[in-house]
């Protein structure tokens, strides 16, 4: 499958926005992790923004950045949202409430607990009516999302917005699923075009060793391993370095998603 990257959005500690992220990943500026400012997520109406979860705001922020760079109208772009655990912060609040004698839970909190909450809010904020999928593949959720998005691009010949995110898991759920730093990334993928967008070839291989190496920078490698969405750093680093590289993503132990990124300026 051959697809172009039409735009990138990024939000993580020390990687606030793709302009900064690209320079850090290209080694032009040092990686300086620090507190991530609460995303502006400007598309959300103020009352929704106030009530929204971190997942929603982070996903909105990177989606908006990527779509903005692509120049596409978000109403014309189907979406794929990938997250390992989804709304873990909402689950925590719901499960706490369900331990209390009256088991009263907020209706808003309940409808925000679905795995497609961020996808739903993106559709509402952009008034989009295109297809929207939300999926999980545990630690391989980014790769599964990339597979689904690339498949939609190739089979349906449409641009697709892929958003992958996992946020810090709160106590006590973190005892069962520790994720210590938030990470969100968005890619607009399009059918290959004549312009200068980076082109990548995506295919599946049976799992074997040697193609799923990590990152050279030990601090960034720690981030990549901490958060399933941060597995995307391999592809982002290849793009920041100007392409001409092949990266592999593990897919449910038995397969690898291989991405050959052509030489590019991004």
């Amino acid at each position: 499958m051959k697809v172009s990257i039409g735009g990138i959005g990024l939000l993580a500690s020390g990687l606030v926005g793709w302009d900064v992220g690209r320079e850090v990943l290209a080694g032009i500026r040092p990686y300086r992790p620090g507190a991530v400012p609460d995303p502006e997520a400007k598309l959300l109406p103020p009352n929704e923004r106030r009530r929204s979860s971190d997942c929603v705001r982070w996903a909105m922020q990177v989606a908006q950045e990527a779509i903005g760079r692509s120049g596409l109208d978000p109403r014309e772009v189907p979406t794929v949202f990938a997250s390992s655990g989804g709304e873990m912060g909402v689950f925590d609040k719901l499960c706490r409430a369900l331990c209390l004698p009256d088991r009263m839970i907020s209706p808003t909190l309940f409808h925000q607990s679905v795995h497609n909450t961020a996808a739903g809010y993106w559709g509402i904020a952009t008034a989009g009516q295109q297809s929207s999928t939300a999926l999980s593949c545990y630690d391989d959720s980014f790769a599964a999302g990339l597979l689904e998005a690339a498949t939609v691009v190739c089979v349906e010949q449409r641009p697709v917005l892929l958003v992958a995110y996992d946020l810090v898991v709160p106590e006590p759920l973190s005892q069962a699923r520790p994720i210590t730093e938030g990470f969100a990334v968005a890619l607009v993928l399009t059918p290959p075009s004549d312009d200068s967008s980076p082109v990548m070839r995506v295919h599946l291989e049976t799992a074997h060793t040697g193609k799923t190496a990590g990152l050279d920078d030990p601090e960034l490698e720690r981030v990549r391993q901490d958060n399933p969405a941060a597995r995307a750093l391999l592809l982002l680093s290849a793009a920041a370095a100007g392409g001409g590289r092949t990266v592999g993503f593990s897919l449910s132990d038995s397969q690898q998603l291989i991405v050959d990124l052509e030489l590019c300026r991004i």
């Binding site: 369900l98 679905v114 498949t151 038995s254």
Partner: protein
């Protein structure tokens, strides 16, 4: 937007279903024919809500052991029970022989996965330290995490192709057909096991109660006095293969799918059903069928005031009052993330048997609904059916199923 291109039909070369009506397609079909509901007053755990549920019996009486022990939870027990019915394991094993384990995808849908385990673990957490019980911590991955169901099914079937869990609330296990069809069309696999499993839990019971969407009585889809939904649980699967390889005349196949969003509200449908219309139209375009070709529509028909009314507007605007329409939620309850596979398998049964089930519990059809809502069962050959699923986040999916010529 241009209409989507026609798709290659995909044969449902095996399919199965477990609902409150019984285990396997035989008991489900019998319940449809005898108009026997699976809904009963809520007796799930210690839940004291006044509502009816479609509970699958026996899930409390066994556990998953040996290599499946880590997966043990209500949702995966239901998933396991589903795999045991209608020779599905054998069909999957034969497909594995034909194509190889790496060439069969597993695409499953669920809305709440095994969240019931986390609900239980929170009750047992240490009040002073918030520490979760030891039994729970290593098992989150295999029970509550959204991918648990996909991991479980591919483990049980020994499949090694691409796997993922789609979780878009109620539309989850309708959308699995679309994702699997694309994976097959892109050449990434030769066949796919698709399905959905969703099980009762406190989150959905108290959540829908908080939204004031639960009926106190067994749900009455399309009835003028309908006052909300009944929750159910179900497990269903279908094995999808390219029609030209396995499909004989009269075999049921997936002919089209359509996906859309409302872009309107998280828990209320678009007032004119604009997203639903788009999903239905796209499913017809992929099936290369016209609205006039459709003889039966399995409605989403949840029995909430809003859903049935908006769905009717969407259906009527495309089909007029010609095709027979019914909701089967009065049998199964709303099985949420499993609703897509539940109603796809029921629609396949209807096609295979020439049955159009009349909407159970609908005493008087709401006079504001313009579509032709069936109240009584009808028999007669059906060639093409549409199944609608609409969900939270305004996420819509329609499937066209039909018999191969």
């Amino acid at each position: 937007m241009p209409d989507p291109k026609p798709m290659t039909p995909l044969t449902l070369s095996a399919y199965t279903l477990v609902t409150a009506n019984g285990r396997g397609v035989g008991p489900v079909l019998q319940a449809l024919q005898e108009r026997r509901s699976g809904l009963k007053p809520c007796d799930f755990e210690d839940v004291a809500l006044k509502t009816s549920i479609g509970r699958v019996t026996g899930l409390e009486d066994f556990s998953l052991d040996d290599e499946l022990r880590a997966f043990d939870c209500r949702n995966n027990r239901l998933a396991w029970l589903g795999l045991q019915q209608d020779g599905f394991m054998v069909a999957a094993a034969e497909a594995k022989q034909r194509y190889g384990a790496h060439r069969i995808a597993v695409v499953m849908g669920t809305s709440t996965s095994g969240i019931l385990e986390t609900e239980h673990a929170y009750r047992e957490r240490d009040p002073s330290t918030d520490r979760l019980p030891d039994w729970y911590r290593p098992r989150y991955r295999y029970t509550h995490n959204m991918f648990s169901l996909g991991h479980f099914v591919r483990t049980c079937l020994g499949l090694q192709g691409p796997a993922m869990v789609i979780s878009t609330a109620c539309s989850s296990s309708a959308k699995v057909f679309a994702t699997a069809a694309r994976l097959m069309q892109a050449g990434l696999c030769d066949a796919a096991v698709v399905g959905g499993v969703d099980s009762l839990c406190l989150t959905t019971l108290y959540g829908f109660s908080a939204l004031q969407l639960l009926s106190a009585d067994p749900c009455r889809p399309c009835d003028e006095d309908r006052d909300g939904l009944s929750l159910g649980e179900a497990a269903g699967y279908a094995l999808l293969e390219f029609g030209e390889r396995v499909g004989g005349r009269g075999t049921v196949a997936l002919l089209g799918y359509g996906e859309s969003t409302d872009g309107y509200h998280m828990s209320h449908p678009h007032p004119e059903g604009a997203g639903a219309v788009r999903a239905i139209r796209d499913s017809l375009a992929r099936a290369s069928l016209r609205a006039e070709d459709i003889e039966y529509i399995n409605l989403h028909g949840t029995a909430t005031r809003a859903n049935d009314s908006v769905e009717d507007k969407a259906v009527y605007s495309i089909f007029g009052a010609r095709p027979a329409c019914s909701s089967t939620k009065g049998w199964t309850g709303h099985t949420l993330g499993a609703a897509g596979i539940t109603e796809a398998v029921i629609s396949a049964l209807c096609l295979a048997q020439g049955l159009m089930p009349g909407t159970l519990n609908c005493q008087r059809v709401d006079s504001s609904l313009k579509s032709r809502i069936l109240r009584e069962n009808q028999t007669g050959s059906i060639s093409f059916a549409v199944s609608n699923i609409f969900g939270f986040g305004g996420n819509n999916c329609s499937l066209v199923l039909g018999k191969l010529p």
